[in-house]
Amino acid sequence: MVSGKQSVEERSVTRTEARKIIIRPTSGWAALNLRDLWVYRELVYFMTWRDLKVRYKQTALGAAWAILQPFLTMVVFSIFFGNLAGVPSDGVPYPIFSYTALIPWTLFSKALQDASRSLVNSSHMITKVYFPRMILPLASVLAGIVDFLIAFVVLLAMMAFYHVVPTANIWTIPLFLILALITATGVSLWLSALNVLYRDINYVLPFLTQFWMYITPIAYPSSMVPEKWRLLYAVNPMTGVVEGFRWALLGSGEAPGMMTLVSTLVAIVLLVSGMFYFKRMERLFADMV
């Protein structure tokens, strides 16, 4: 970096590698400084790896939790919604129908749960070392991918059991997974930053997750929603994710169209606004956490 000091002009050669860092007060909306996040990319990996390792070491059932949570929910849904209430499932066996939706949903709700607490739980690190704070919620979200993969294998087994053949569109699953991750990261950035400032988030979160689950087509198909309300319904990005999963795997529901587009746009807005809000609040974390 070029140095402006007169005394060092001639000899700045020896310091060509030294980065010049300027520390000064900032206010209002700050630049995202994604380059910094890139420099610390290995830390994202290590934090994700730590979250996983610790979880699997500390819990007796380890990886089984990744399966149990969506699986048991699926069982309950199948009994009450599928059998007793007779909720339609677009011609697919109801267990498969709901489980397909529950996997990305579990990824999302778990990400919210872990990420919203990530900053507060790591307060000792935040007050002692500099690193891009965004890494903490990001690692919490990414750690969920492993659970997702395990649960996905169970889905494939269930499909084999019910003789449901995945459609040729199965290759689009990673795209919908990315949409789910974008949504989860966006919401997590908002929640984790808010949680540092207002611990109320701990109490809001269970309600928020429950509420969000009802407005996402998990226990019921989105075809139950009247045609004219569909686009508004798709403002919830998880609708786009769930619909996408069902379309790609089961061939049910609607092919990606306007609804997917709306969901994707909202997800991107959530992510970008979350990043800016996080960045704006970041400077207070060390003093308030």
Partner: protein
Amino acid sequence: MSQTAIHVENLGKQYRLGQQVGNYRTLRETLSGRFGAKKAPEEQKALLPESIWALEDVSFDVEQGSVLGVVGRNGAGKSTLLKILSRVTEPTKGLVEVYGRVGSLLEVGTGFHPELTGRENIFLNGAILGMKKTEIEAKFDEIVSFAEVETFIDTPVKRYSSGMYLRLAFAVAAHLEPEILVVDEVLAVGDAEFQRKCLGKMSDVAKEGRTVLFVSHNMSAILRLTQETLVIDKGHLLLRAPTVEAVDFYLSRGLTQEGQRLWQPDEIPAQAAPFKPVAVRLLDKQDHVMEAARCSEPFYLEVEYQLHKAIKGLRVGIYILTSQGEFVFTSFDTDDPEKFEEYSQRTAGTYKSRVEIPPYLLNGGRYVVGVNASSYRIKTYFHDEQALAFNMDVTGAPGTQWPENRLGPVRPKLTWQITQTNGGGE
């Protein structure tokens, strides 16, 4: 011609009172603060946060390759300064220019996870401190052997002894190779052997031409490692001088308030609650505060404090240190087993713990009194290693017929026997 490594200009950091120690707001408070215009005036006044400047108008430059000490009392602003330099927190005003990678050691073992093995923690901690994976791999063996934990490297660190844990934590940090190293008080932990090793490593770092900023209460470490020292008090930079001069200035100024030290509210960290230190005093037999004590007469050290709540297992004690920062001894008010039983719990109230220092114990010279209030293995409520300084007058001490300085911090009155063993010398 040296280059600047750190340039600090009019640096200031303002904290809202109570904010410093993690007083998060609740949504309700913010809402009522924002829409509080309708509130009664006195209530509104209570909502207005009072603020303090933890650091104000601090300017200095550090040349590349120099080792700069920073000293100051608790709450003087040292930690705030280091936090700003290591980008943990933002300044409220001013500017810092840092040339090169900054490694901060505000604590060792940041991010260590008890469930993970030593090996796993080395990688995790290294990454948190800003090391690349390849860098950690290259130094892995060196780190392990420095920490002397070879046989336990695949054991979860929760099974480590505290000594092993510290050694490993320090080892990772010590192998970080930043251009600028910022160190806060990490040497205050661990046993003597460990401290010696850390100090050795620190001076190696300095010899390699890297810039070090070193905060410590340990004056002998400051004297050993640094050439120049900053003295900070109440957020202001009071003096920058060669270390010997700065340490002398620091120990002799502000500490001695005529043999009595009263703690101001801003000097008491919030985590001290419910313990609130009031004063420490040097007293004579008649309860008079005095500035100097005599070797040949007993004197008293008294710590006055308040407890806002009952505390179990509290012990209040003093350290005596030489002006070089070396410990002479430590004593607690419940050292005596009977007292320990009697005061297993102290109820809320105001207390004075007073100790008699017998005659013929300390040598002449200048001493520093440190104060510690803690519950063993539970919590250190308050700790001030430089609470008070006083002089010992050697008048009347053994051996004063020779007006020389005796070596060593103690000057006991010992009984000698002299016998002639060659049969009377005829």
